[in-house]
């Protein structure tokens, strides 16, 4: 072979390598949205697990009877409306016309009843609803009836909750699967169909637009309103490495990256074809969680002494950088900017702390140098950063800290132990929650005092009394008043310590636009 022939052949080969890829991309790009989620879709049943990724998947595939709008108010979604009779003891919910499941069968009230029952076995809000329900039945194919023992004004809010577990409506035959078992088929009535045959765990999942979906009336707002899909297909692509995800977004292999780490944001902002924006106003909240069963944190005075030492700003700087516009260091027990949030009991709790005073308060509270086992998950960046600041703070106020750094799996196992630290137990750990999980007492699962709640087993009859009262409050004003009292009580009992709220940013190609606000949702988004 001559040199020129070789060069010509090599060039042709190189062109051949590149061209098909470009062709493939152009042919599909206009109608396919490629999305890199924060985690792999490990579970496909949003009523079986609390994982956010399953909830996000759930809102693509399943619809809900009600949906929360951006003001966290429930709006009719699958229901056309409801009638409340008998002084709030009888609710009649009527389904909209034309609702279909992805297998082509109509959505019936019987399906909804079975779905509600399945959901209510697991969800705390659902359990509360069922505790006051005398009878839940399908009066006809379109009418669902709740006969209640006591008025439950939050019924639409319960059925429309956006935090895990969501009340996903599925065909009765699937909804009869025990909640302890994952559903065998993913058939919903939402705006996208799940393409089970294309799922590769750990790598990708795919959805197709459900052409027979009948959108609810009204403009889309959070998980309420018209859910109109503008893309024929959505692909979720798991990219474990942040650097690779950045490269994929820059080169146009993905269109939307849910959660780029803060250190890559400047790089992405420097690309004119990429837009970085905050989609979720509720953001993320850091929390310092106690084991309330054993010393030293079984002593509320010691928990209050630690609370007095906490300045949220350093925690936020560690997790979200130096720009104060990206975080909030005045966070109470309810997510700032949501209806139940208030400044109750917060005077003097924030700003630079007097650590010497906190040290004295700690001694006065009876701390005698007991070992504090602080669990830290080193493989989750945000938690790792918050835990290091927490370790430093506890050490500086004189606590005997045993910092146990492991992976999240080990933390999750150890935090279930109710043993004292000498027997493999723990004293505290740091976690993060979506701000949506702290918007009210129904979804804030660690704001409990029943001695059984996850993460710390606090016993506080007053917190439980206020929480119960909140569920039965007749209106928003009364609920807000109760939440003020609940927050003031929480500052005394300190079930956990909020460490601040930060904005989570998303990055998208400018070739797509109108991404919905809140959690990752795919209706409304369109090619620009």
């Amino acid at each position: 072979m001559h040199r020129r022939q070789f060069i010509a052949g090599a060039s042709a080969a190189a062109t051949g390598l590149a061209t098909p890829r470009l062709g493939h991309t152009q042919a599909n790009r206009a109608r396919t949205l490629r999305f890199a989620p924060h985690a792999d879709l490990s579970f496909v049943d949003p009523v079986w697990t609390l994982a956010y990724i399953a909830r996000n998947h759930g809102f693509m595939v399943f619809d809900t009877l009600y949906g929360l709008d951006s003001g966290f108010e429930p709006q009719p979604q699958m229901v056309a409306g409801h009638v409340v009779e008998n002084d709030g003891l009888l609710w009649r919910l009527t389904l909209r016309d034309g609702l279909l499941f992805h297998d082509g069968t109509p959505v019936r009230a019987q399906d909804c009843v079975a779905s509600i029952r399945r959901w209510a076995t697991a969800d705390a809000f659902g359990q509360k609803l069922m505790a006051v329900t005398d009878e839940l039945s399908a009066v006809s194919d379109r009418e669902i009836r709740f006969k209640l023992k006591r008025p439950f004004p939050l019924l639409p809010a319960a059925l429309g909750k956006a935090s895990p577990y969501m009340c996903a409506i599925m065909p009765e035959r699937i909804a009869l699967t025990p909640q302890t078992t994952q559903i065998p088929e993913v058939i919903g009535s939402g705006p996208f169909r799940f393409l089970a045959s294309e799922r590769v765990p750990g790598a990708s999942a795919a959805y197709a637009r459900f052409d027979r979906y009948v959108p609810a009336p009204g403009a889309p707002s959070f998980v309420a309103g018209a859910k109109v899909a503008h893309f024929d297909r959505v692909e979720w692509i798991t990219i474990p490495d942040a650097g690779t995800a950045a490269g994929a977004l820059q080169s146009g292999e993905i269109d939307w990256w849910e959660a780029p780490p803060p250190d890559l944001i400047p790089l992405l902002k420097g690309n004119s074809k990429i837009a970085v924006e905050t989609l979720d106003p509720a953001g993320s909240v850091g929390v310092f969680r106690f084991n309330h069963l054993h010393p030293p944190f079984n002593n509320p005075a010691i928990r209050r002494a630690v609370l007095a030492a906490v300045d949220q700003a350093p925690f936020m700087q560690a997790v979200a950088g130096d720009d104060p516009a990206m975080w909030n260091d005045r966070v109470g027990y309810f997510t700032p900017g949501t209806p139940m949030a208030s400044d109750a009991g917060m005077a003097g709790l924030f700003g630079p702390r007097d650590l010497a005073k906190a040290k004295r308060e700690l001694a006065a509270a009876g701390y005698r140098g007991e070992r504090v086992v602080l669990l830290a998950a080193s493989n989750i960046d945000a938690i790792h950063a918050l835990a290091q600041v927490a370790q430093d703070l506890l050490t500086r106020i004189g606590m005997n800290v045993d910092y146990v750094s492991t992976d999240w799996g080990t933390v999750m196992q150890r935090r279930t132990s109710q043993q004292p630290v000498e027997s493999g137990g723990w004293s505290a750990f740091v976690g993060t929650w979506s701000g949506n999980d702290l918007v009210n007492p129904a979804v804030s699962i660690s704001l409990r005092g029943d001695g059984k709640a996850a993460g710390g087993w606090l016993t506080s009859p007053e917190i439980e009394r206020l929480r119960d009262a909140w569920f039965e409050a007749p209106d928003l004003a009364e609920r807000q008043k109760i939440c003020r009292a609940l927050q003031e009580q929480a500052w005394q009992d300190v079930p956990f310590i909020p460490l601040g709220q930060w904005k989570t940013q998303s990055a998208r190609r400018t070739s797509i636009t109108d991404l919905p606000r809140g959690i990752p949702l795919f209706w409304g988004a369109r090619p620009s």
């Binding site: 390598l17 697991a122 059984k452």
Partner: protein, 313 residues
């Protein structure tokens, strides 16, 4: 030779059984609870008990082990605790990219490293030898993930020649398949090129100093013929051994390249399973990899007779 192969294959049975016991015990003695991970941050003790019961994790370890062993003997590697798919199906989905990339890496390494090593030995002490050895040290010292990032930046983001991530199966056709394996294979190849180059240089250099090489030169044989026929063939056994060891130890590098290039292979499957404590997947993957290692070693042993007529089975 057939008798030898049968004997070796029979010998793998106790090896695999030992691997199975050790892997099972190690996994179950390691901290971490899949139920806690499935239940999530807010799961109550009652939730966790319910999940453990459903997964069969409440049973005594011995009972779990015997149950798993019985399944394996029937050809069933179990079901993932998390996504409830059969482990054999997950492995079948993932094995192609790992095998293809592994073989591409070693093929590329052999094609590049052996000529380089022979030339370095032939020109021992010269600037060519020093250049090759310096490059080998650099290639050996660079972290795999760094090479991956550099290749992505240059060839995917800037030049857009190759995709940043993902994998297309061979069945998708060469124009889709080939671009997806170039950068992931190249990323890990450097370290094996360096390793094999140094190994080849050392063994060929040793052979070149033998008396029969002097005789060959005295008989008037050309240098290429001396190197290719006499030197390389006599140096082949340690080189082939190194290739075999390289193939067996490739998984570490493949885990990194699969992570960097988001390739759904066995390495990623294993890492995800470790993070999640998905015991059935881990047990299944390790068992399959152990079988592969045994097979590779058998093939390497058998290949010795091709290079050294004194070795007969």
């Amino acid at each position: 030779m057939l008798a030898y192969i049968v004997k070796r294959l029979l010998a793998t049975i106790p090896v695999m059984a030992t691997v199975a016991v050790i892997v099972f015990m190690l996994l179950h003695l390691t901290p971490g609870d899949p139920a806690a991970l499935i239940g999530g941050d807010l799961a109550t003790p009652e939730d966790l008990r319910r999940i453990r019961e459903q997964l069969g994790l409440e049973r005594p370890i011995a009972e779990q082990f015997l149950g798993w062993l019985w399944q394996v003997l029937q050809g069933d590697l179990g079901t993932s605790l998390f996504n409830q798919m059969p482990v054999s199906q997950l492995i079948a989905q993932r094995i192609e990219p790992t095998l293809i990339i592994g073989l591409t890496i070693m093929t590329f390494a052999v094609i590049v490293a052996i000529p380089l090593g022979v030339v370095a030995a032939w020109k021992a002490g010269s600037w060519i030898d020093q250049l090759i050895m310096t490059l080998a040290v650099i290639a050996f010292s660079m972290p795999i993930f760094l090479i991956g990032y550099l290749l992505i930046f240059k060839f995917s983001v800037e030049l857009k020649w190759f995709p940043v991530r993902g994998y297309q199966p061979m069945s998708a056709g060469p124009t889709k398949f080939f671009p997806h394996i170039v950068l992931p294979s190249l990323t890990v190849s450097f370290i094996y090129i360096a390793l094999l180059t140094r190994m080849t240089r050392a063994t060929v250099l040793d052979v070149l100093n033998q008396d029969y090489m002097r005789t060959a030169r005295a008989k008037g044989m050309t240098t290429p013929r001396i190197l290719a026929v006499h030197a390389l063939k006599n140096a082949a056994v340690p080189i082939v051994t190194m290739v075999g060891i390289g193939l067996s130890s490739l998984l570490g590098g493949i885990v990194v390249t699969e992570t960097v290039f988001a390739i759904p292979g066995m390495g990623r499957l294993m890492i995800d399973a470790i993070i999640r404590r998905d015991f059935p997947i881990l047990q299944g993957v390790i068992l399959v990899l152990s079988a592969l290692y045994v097979l590779i070693n058998l093939l390497i042993d058998l290949s010795y007779s091709l290079f050294d007529p004194r070795i007969r089975y």
